[in-house]
């Protein structure tokens, strides 16, 4: 007899748990969706979001702050940065003539940004980086002017 009572009790508690579960999912219908309809709307990125690195330029002269000390190239674990520069006559420090970032191997670790003592590198906030060709990811940072925000 006790087994029969237990059997009935299991049916009742089981059915009640199912109804509770169904009520929880039904309650979600009137709630606003949490998703954002991506290509048509997008969310702002936080300040510290890590997009690819960018050269910081001097506000007045527009020239990059980089003095070609090669600290970033040495610090990068994936060897994605290539810097070359020369010191023109009468200039206080070297200026870069080539600053290539191979974004296909970059892991956004931030070691280059931290190793720079001259405030020349920062993260951009770009994330719309889809492309059809690999050459688009060999970024020439000297040509990209300033921080593009999205």
């Amino acid at each position: 007899m006790r087994a029969f009572g237990k059997y009935l009790k299991e049916i009742v508690t089981g059915s009640w748990s199912l109804l509770v579960g169904m009520w929880i999912t039904l309650r979600q219908i009137p709630v606003r969706p949490v998703t954002v309809n991506y290509p048509y709307e997008s969310l702002p990125m936080t300040n510290r979001f890590r997009g690819h690195v960018e050269l910081i330029r001097n506000d007045e002269t527009g020239e990059p702050n980089c003095v070609v000390c090669m600290a970033c190239q040495k610090a990068c674990p994936s060897n994605c940065i290539r810097v070359e520069g020369h010191k023109p006559e009468g200039a206080p420090h070297r200026i870069p003539t080539l600053f290539m970032l191979d974004f296909t191997t970059c892991s956004l670790c931030g070691l280059c940004v931290e190793s720079c003592k001259f405030n020349a590198l920062e993260f951009s906030r770009e994330y719309n980086q889809a492309s059809l060709s690999k050459e688009d990811y060999q970024m020439d940072l000297l040509q990209r002017g300033g921080k593009e925000t999205h």
């Binding site: 049916i11 169904m22 999912t25 039904l26 969706p33 998703t35």
Partner: protein, 332 residues
């Protein structure tokens, strides 16, 4: 005489086209309803790209399926492999023939309509078994074996419930069953406590059996995506897979139609005012909403749990219901 023949042929053609169109249209838009409804439960949006509110999504899906190559895997039994989708969809559409949508709309007013529906339902099992076996794939064979066990286990309480109902209504004719429920909603069979105090329980058992027969979650062991890829339908590509898909939704529609005819009053209005096709359709889509709601809330039952549910819980309850109904019918 030729005038009658002409009318008869016209009626036949219109009904055939109409039922196939109804079945296909419902299957297509139920798939959209499923995606949208699952999105609402999960706080996202569902298809919104194709057409306003994603209304042309089934058209896009259909075109995609039509564009794919129909593959036959090596070592498969070619005749059975190609026969299985046809064998799945034909009974589903045939069942629509005897369903009365309102007082005047109904393809065939068959006196044994209820019996016919369940005979055709059994062919569905055979077709899935053919599909699983003919694919020459281990996953499909396992899944086909499971389908047979599942469907046999759930046919029994279903037929017991229907037997008890026929004792109350004294007829197999679906149209007459609905006409007996005219009046307000208190006349609907689900509330006929005087005929049997277990009637609402019988309705719940009917719903569970319908979910298991149509292989909908939480009983979708057949298509258990996390375990056996796509189960019995793994090797099907393109429109043959589309046919299985359509057949599943048409089975859901047929099961829902029978549920509302037997228990919820068919085309009758809840307050006895304006009975008609509109009430039938409202009830049909609410029932389909509930079927989809159940699918997206619960995890899948274990295979032995599923069989235990049928043999140890549903069959005893439906036998009790049968006995109680028989006693009450005899006494009153």
């Amino acid at each position: 005489m030729p005038h009658d023949l002409f009318r008869e042929i016209a009626r036949l053609v219109l009904y055939v086209v109409g039922l196939v169109a109804f079945g296909a249209f419902n299957a297509a838009y139920l798939s959209l309803l499923e995606r949208k409804e699952s999105a609402w439960f999960q706080r996202r949006r569902g298809p919104v790209e194709v057409g306003p509110f994603g209304l042309l999504q089934p058209v896009a899906d259909g075109l995609k399926l039509l564009g794919k190559q129909l593959l036959v895997p090596r070592g498969a039994d070619v005749l059975l492999f190609k026969l299985a989708p046809v064998a799945v969809i034909t009974p589903a559409i045939m069942c629509l023939v005897v369903i009365p949508f309102s007082e005047t709309i109904g393809a065939r007013d068959f006196s044994l309509g209820l019996l016919m529906i369940y005979s055709f339902g059994a062919i569905n099992v055979l077709a899935t078994l053919l599909a699983g076996w003919a694919s020459n794939n281990k996953y499909s064979s396992i899944s086909a074996a499971r389908v047979v066990a599942q469907n046999i286990a759930y046919e029994i309480p279903l037929l017991l419930i229907i037997l008890a109902l026929v004792m109350v209504t004294h007829t197999f004719n679906l149209r007459e069953i609905v006409e007996l429920q005219s009046g307000g909603f208190w006349q609907w069979n689900i509330f006929q406590i005087s005929a049997s105090p277990l009637m609402p329980v019988a309705f719940v058992i009917y719903v569970i059996c319908m979910l298991a027969e149509t292989n909908r979650a939480p009983f979708d062991i057949v298509e258990a995506e996390s375990e056996l890829i796509a189960g019995a339908f793994t090797e099907y590509a393109g429109m043959s897979f589309g046919l299985f898909f359509i057949a599943e939704y048409v089975n859901v529609v047929v099961g829902s139609c029978i549920g509302i005819i037997l228990f919820l009053g068919g085309w009758q209005c809840p307050f006895g005012l304006l009975p008609g096709l509109h009430w039938f359709l409202v009830k049909l889509y609410l029932f389909c909403f509930a079927v989809i709601w159940v699918r997206w809330t619960f995890p899948r039952t274990q295979f032995y749990g599923l069989l235990n549910l049928s043999w140890k819980i549903l069959i005893p309850l439906s036998l009790v219901h049968l006995v109680v109904t028989a006693i009450l019918v005899k006494l009153f």
